[in-house]
Point group: C2
Chain length 325, copies 2
């Protein structure tokens, strides 16, 4: 496998935690990695990892459009390495908008794909995660794009979680086909057509509601990037509030230590560090977007997912299942 | 105070739990209540409560438009009683769409209000709830409507939770005014105008994200009814999954009983039964919508909120603060 291009400069804990994660991934997973970033900031940490030099860094709060002028940034160089056949995938915990923009700019889209979408795994207690997309790439969508998201999400759910025939739900505000906004109603009609998901070996499960996301009733949930991002962040905030409260409530009791220990496996499963990041589906290469707050563990998991998606040939699979919009 | 018209027929546990809640509300809160529904189904349960007869029942899964033909339904009769000055408020745990439709049809809108909105309190650990609106009345909205929702939500937050100057956030996918879909961007510009929320004695806190809803950074969160409903139900599903997992994880440990006891106050605060239901803001009367799964306790809380909103003169307050759309 070609090395995975890891943006050493992106993320709240860069470059320290990022490069620590790279070393652990090499040791634990055996994946080849090339660090992309400023050599002078990486040198003392890189050990025997290769470095692809990039003199610029796009900040976490910069506009995504910065990729057009910052051509020697770590993000643009990482995407370029994938395009040029020098890397098998790119991984970044940096600016999400700029990561998407650099992947689009340098890798381009898979032929026929109207818009790439961010596919984010949402943990489901006791089951495989639900893949939510679009989790924020496209604030406004057209029905045909959502059909492609459904096809791509199904491929991702199969390759990443081994689900033979993923059930794809359309996020709405009621199960009936008549419920929702115009985008949802038009998309429902398209997804209900026989054959809409046939090439993706997936099944349309109809409209689903927000409360279905964290259940095992559905494997993929499709929505526009505005609604998807709101749902994702609402869930993150809710989990944080509840876990914080649980730990707070237990901290005041005599059973605190034991109870907290009992909670830890659950907390870990719900922790974004464990999910291994989101994948930008529809660009012509593997691009994994890790949480901005990524720890070294999160980086290891993101690199693991990147390697698995390369090995599974997910981009080739996407190319063969997406129908033109 | 005039009696509160309680739909005895609406909800998964009607009429038993509904009427049990009514008796408890009379005993515990001293609020006057009139039961609305089929006399033959109520008679054996009503005790000394008055009954307003209604021969029809709109089912939980009926279309809201049924209110046009089912004029002797409990929902239509309850709304009529408010319009005719025979009741001070209506409360139902029944079909949400039909509850809204009956309130609109019989009470009408407050002058100047373009569309009523459902205001739902979202619990915040350690603080007053955040009022989310629109939680599902209008799947498609215009910017001017969202400005009215902001004004109405602020009045509700003040009258219900005693917040002197509510902070109103606009739900988006980034804090910057440039983020979001066209509806959000246009609404942001309107809410940022000096005076937009002046009559409501509220302050525009700018864009907020999903993760801010369950924090005390904001008192009111405004969005369209599609996004609001998705956020609300996503949170419900997430809470259910997490609380279930927590109890499951603890159930397997020796500390289970003590730990579960420690969790109970938190669980109760997050339970929809405790929040007292949502209020339909913008119709010309007090209309409280309780969860379909309401227990007797939920009914008591909904009746308490209805009584408080009547006493506070919230409809008169709304009339004076809403600017024409």
């Amino acid at each position: 496998m070609l090395p995975i291009a890891l943006d050493a400069m992106g993320g709240d804990n860069a470059p320290g935690a990022i490069i620590e994660g790279a070393h652990r991934a090499v040791a634990e997973l055996g994946v080849p990695i090339v660090l992309v970033g400023r050599p002078e900031e990486i040198e003392s940490l890189r050990g025997d990892l290769d470095v692809l030099p990039a003199s610029e860094v796009i900040a976490m709060d910069d506009a995504g459009s910065k990729v057009r002028t910052m051509k020697d940034s770590s993000l643009v160089r990482a995407a370029e390495a994938v395009r040029d056949g020098k890397a098998s995938a790119m991984v970044s915990a940096g600016n999400t908008g700029a990561t998407m923009a650099s992947a689009l700019l340098r890798m381009g889209r898979i032929k026929g794909v109207a818009r790439p979408a961010i596919a984010t795994p949402i943990p489901v207690p006791g089951s495989t995660p639900t893949v939510l997309l679009d989790a924020g790439a496209n604030a406004e969508c057209q029905p045909q794009w959502l059909v492609q998201f459904a096809q791509m999400g199904a491929v991702f759910a199969r390759e990443r979680y081994g689900i033979a025939e993923p059930r794809v739900g359309l996020l709405s505000i009621g199960e009936e086909a008549s419920k929702g906004n115009p985008l949802v109603k038009e998309t429902h009609a398209l997804l209900a057509e026989p054959g809409a998901l046939a090439r993706a070996d997936a099944r349309f499960a109809g409209n689903v509601e927000g409360r279905d996301i964290m259940t095992d009733d559905v494997d993929v949930v499709v929505t526009d990037g505005f609604t998807g991002n709101v749902a994702l962040k609402t869930l993150e905030g809710g989990m944080r509030a509840l876990v914080g409260s649980v730990l707070g409530a237990l901290g005041a009791t005599p059973v605190a230590d034991e109870a907290v220990a009992a909670l830890m496996p659950l907390y870990a499963a719900l922790d974004p560090d464990s999910t291994g990041g989101a994948m930008l589906l529809g660009v012509d290469g593997v691009c994994i977007i890790s949480h901005g707050s990524s720890s070294a563990t999160a980086v290891v998991n993101a690199l693991r997912v990147a390697g698995e998606m390369v090995e599974a040939g997910v981009v080739e699979r996407l190319r063969s299942v997406v129908s033109p919009a």
